[in-house]
């Protein structure tokens, strides 16, 4: 399965070029969100920047959609555009949207409706947008895609599960292309939950190589991929395998291992096993924030590295164990990258990318 196009929506802007720019530029301070429950009244977040949508016509198609769906549609359209593929048989394009929390902000908006106006005066529009697959529906209707359209949620491994299914759909020729991606949004309630259950970084820096204690800064955004069986002119890389709950070692021959460490777990020491292969270690969560679906961004970083044959330095390089981490930007000769995530049960997921 080949990565033919990538769309991105995150704190650094819209588009894979913005993401690459952020990888080169390094760490940026998050913004402060008003938080009535925080002692300071403010809370750091990596808020997606939707100020500069390149294709304004797409916004008309989602004018009644909530922020989560807008992020998904803008990102998915961006991936299609980035691929440069024309004349797609849209009945043979599948859509898989991975999300950990879905339209939770809209769901709480609907609960506000119930509490404020009563059961008989709630908004049908808010309810419709709160349904978990609304974002996928907006993606398919906005882009006129008529293949199988699926929304999945598996918390930490939602994105890897989407990639794994895309691989199967392509192998079985259920689809010619799959538009697969992840989208998640933060809101004040989720930030409150994150603050209660995790430790928020006082200096706003996620430190992926500290492992314990860990520090989080919530993020939001979307990454979508156009995936296909055949290589094309603009092919970023090949997805060689997606392994979930399967600890078969794939480390041999890996040049770079990108880890999903982002402060989501109080102890991220499981990632230390990734250092055993001798591959260079990278983690880009300090660019987009702590997200259950953050692996989608790390895979995009891997795809860019393989496509451009260029190293991107770790945005935060605190490294108390002296691990072999990527510190500098520059040309590279990379054959294989593994993107590794762990959940709270120490279950491992690995996406292995190889150069085209």
């Amino acid at each position: 399965m080949n990565v033919l196009g990538i769309g991105a929506v995150f704190a650094g802007g819209i588009g894979i070029k913005s993401f690459e720019k952020a990888l080169v530029a390094g760490w940026q301070k998050p913004v402060d969100m008003e938080a009535k429950w925080a002692a300071s009244g403010k809370y750091p977040v990596y808020q997606a920047n939707l100020d500069d949508v390149p294709d304004k016509t797409i916004l008309k198609k989602v004018r009644r959609a909530d922020r989560l769906s807008k992020m998904a549609v803008i990102c998915a359209a961006d991936a299609v555009k980035d691929s440069g593929i024309r004349d797609i048989n849209r009945e043979k394009v599948g859509v898989i949207v991975a999300t950990a929390f879905g339209a939770h902000v809209t769901t709480f908006g609907f609960l506000d409706n119930i509490l404020d106006f009563g059961e008989t005066a709630v908004s049908p529009t808010i309810f419709s947008n709160s349904v978990h697959n609304a974002a996928a529906s907006y993606v398919s209707s906005s882009l006129d895609i008529k293949g199988p359209t699926l929304t999945i949620t598996q918390f930490r491994f939602s994105f890897q599960s989407a990639l794994q299914l895309a691989l199967v759909w392509l192998q079985q020729k259920r689809c010619d292309y799959v538009l697969a991606g992840a989208v998640d949004q933060f809101g004040d309630v989720l930030c409150y939950v994150a603050d209660r259950k995790l430790t928020t970084a006082q200096d706003s820096r996620i430190k992926p190589f500290v492992f314990k204690p860990t520090f989080q800064v919530p993020g939001e955004g979307a990454i979508f991929y156009i995936l296909g069986r055949e290589k094309m002119e603009k092919t970023y890389c090949t997805v060689q395998s997606v392994m979930i709950n399967d600890n078969t070692s794939q480390g041999a021959g890996t040049d770079v291992t990108i880890i999903d460490a982002d402060g989501m777990l109080p102890d991220e020491s499981a990632y230390l096993a990734c250092a055993d292969s001798g591959a260079l270690l990278a983690a880009y969560s300090p660019l987009f924030g702590t997200m259950m679906t953050g692996s989608a961004f790390n895979v995009a970083a891997g795809a860019l590295m393989l496509s451009k044959q260029r190293y991107y330095p770790n945005p935060v390089q605190d490294n108390p164990r002296g691990l072999r981490i990527l510190t500098d930007s520059g040309p590279a000769n990379i054959a294989a990258i593994e993107c590794v995530g762990y959940d709270c049960h120490s279950t491992r997921a690995a996406v292995r990318l190889i150069a085209k």
């Binding site: 059961e119 309810f127 609304a134 199988p148 699926l150 759909w169």
Partner: protein, 392 residues
């Protein structure tokens, strides 16, 4: 039956129609409709619902009713499949739901709104309640786990995903289906959409006034022929095809020309390698809403002809949302196995705008193939082809 066939070796179902499959069949035979007022939560709304009564105490999980329902169906399906200890086996778990995917606890949110703080109990339940993950972990299975949240087609899509997993070799056995509890939030939400019947639903009827909500779970055990044979098992029921297509039309309304449903049926039939005339009956989505039944009825008539034997089982279960596809796949397989389908409860008068009508009485069905369809919010359509083969 070929070496690569995907057998249905176990089934489980719990709904207002019955806590077990034998109870459900008895309810179907009697044409009994166990609807009533909401007892699950306080409400001023009076739409009747199909609740599961008498949840066995050993399955009770505080604030995780959807998971409880799922586990009941899983245990029934595993018992029928007679799998024994499954730890370490390559078992995939794919479950559809809607309610279990949302943190919509009114008590938690009210506390947050009013006091700027809230206990984490509801959050913990939510984070520990991902259906596929919990079931997979409980079984100590070694295989993919995935929760599908495709609104009303979630259960059908979950079974379709499991079929793809098995064919690709990602697992040898799969547990798949759907589960959903009756919940206050969608109860209000569907009410706001104006598609809930103040009385009992009447799918495909001329005077239909909307759906009734329900709850339940339906699960199948799917197994490669080779895996089943290794343990000396077989089954006459086979999952043969899955199709899924998007209307790309509207967030809540089906495309009037049924384009997505046609495409999903075409894919499912092609995958099964059969023709429409070979299909013995269709267990339709049939919600009892004006638009769904109009589009679905005419699409089915266009593909299968006006003489198709067709029914909706939602008159017995209500619309169980994420569970519907799982339950209806089980009911479809039961129809093939038992050789009869129940009367399409609630149907009395044919709608002249719909080119076919569901069965009015318990009806014998022949043939080797049947179809279950689902149409969902968001314009998603899904279809499964189930076959009854010859026991090896």
């Amino acid at each position: 039956m070929s070496e690569t066939s995907i057998l249905i070796t176990g089934m489980g179902a719990v709904s207002a129609a019955g806590d077990t499959i034998p109870e459900t069949l008895a309810t179907f035979e009697r044409g009994q409709r166990n609807a009533g007022p909401v007892t699950r939560f306080p409400t001023k709304l009076t739409y009747p619902v199909f609740e599961v009564k008498n949840l066995p105490s050993r399955y009770y999980l505080e604030g995780q009713r959807t998971l409880s329902l799922a586990l009941i169906a899983v245990d029934q399906a595993l018992a029928e499949a007679d799998l024994g200890d499954v730890s370490g086996l390559r078992i995939g778990v794919c479950m559809g739901t809607t309610v279990a995917s949302q943190l919509n606890d009114l008590q938690f949110y009210t506390s947050y709104r009013e006091r700027d703080e809230a206990p984490m109990t509801a959050v913990d339940r939510f984070l520990k309640g991902n259906l596929a993950e919990v079931i997979s972990r409980k079984l100590k299975a070694r295989g993919p786990a995935l929760t599908v949240v495709n609104a009303c087609s979630s259960g059908t899509d979950a079974i379709g995903v499991a079929l793809s997993w098995l064919r690709s070799g990602l697992c040898d056995i799969a547990l798949a289906g759907g589960a959903d509890e009756l919940n206050h939030v969608p109860y209000c939400g569907f009410g706001s959409l104006g598609i809930v019947n103040p009385g009992l639903c009447a799918p495909f009827d001329r005077d239909r006034k909307g759906l009734n909500l329900g709850e339940g779970a339906g699960v199948v055990v799917l197994e490669k022929t080779t895996a089943a044979r290794k343990r000396g098992r077989s089954s006459e029921l086979v999952l043969l095809g899955y199709g899924s297509s998007s209307d790309a039309y509207h967030l809540t309304a089906p495309s009037p020309d049924g384009v997505g449903l046609k495409a999903s049926l075409r894919t499912a039939l092609d995958e099964a390698g059969i023709k429409p005339e070979e299909v013995g009956f269709v267990n339709a989505h049939g919600t009892g809403t004006h638009d769904n039944d109009l589009v679905e009825g005419n699409t089915l008539a266009g593909i299968f002809g006006k003489d198709l034997k067709m029914l909706s089982t939602k008159g017995y279960t209500g619309h169980t949302l994420g569970a519907a596809g799982g339950l209806e796949a089980v009911f479809t397989a039961l129809g093939l196995r038992e050789g009869w389908i129940p009367a399409s409860a609630g149907f009395s008068n044919q709608d002249d705008a719909i080119a076919l009508a569901p069965v009015r009485v318990k009806t014998e069905v022949g043939g080797y193939y049947a179809i279950s369809t689902s149409l969902a919010f968001g314009g998603n359509n899904a279809a499964l082809v189930i076959g009854r083969g010859v026991r090896e």
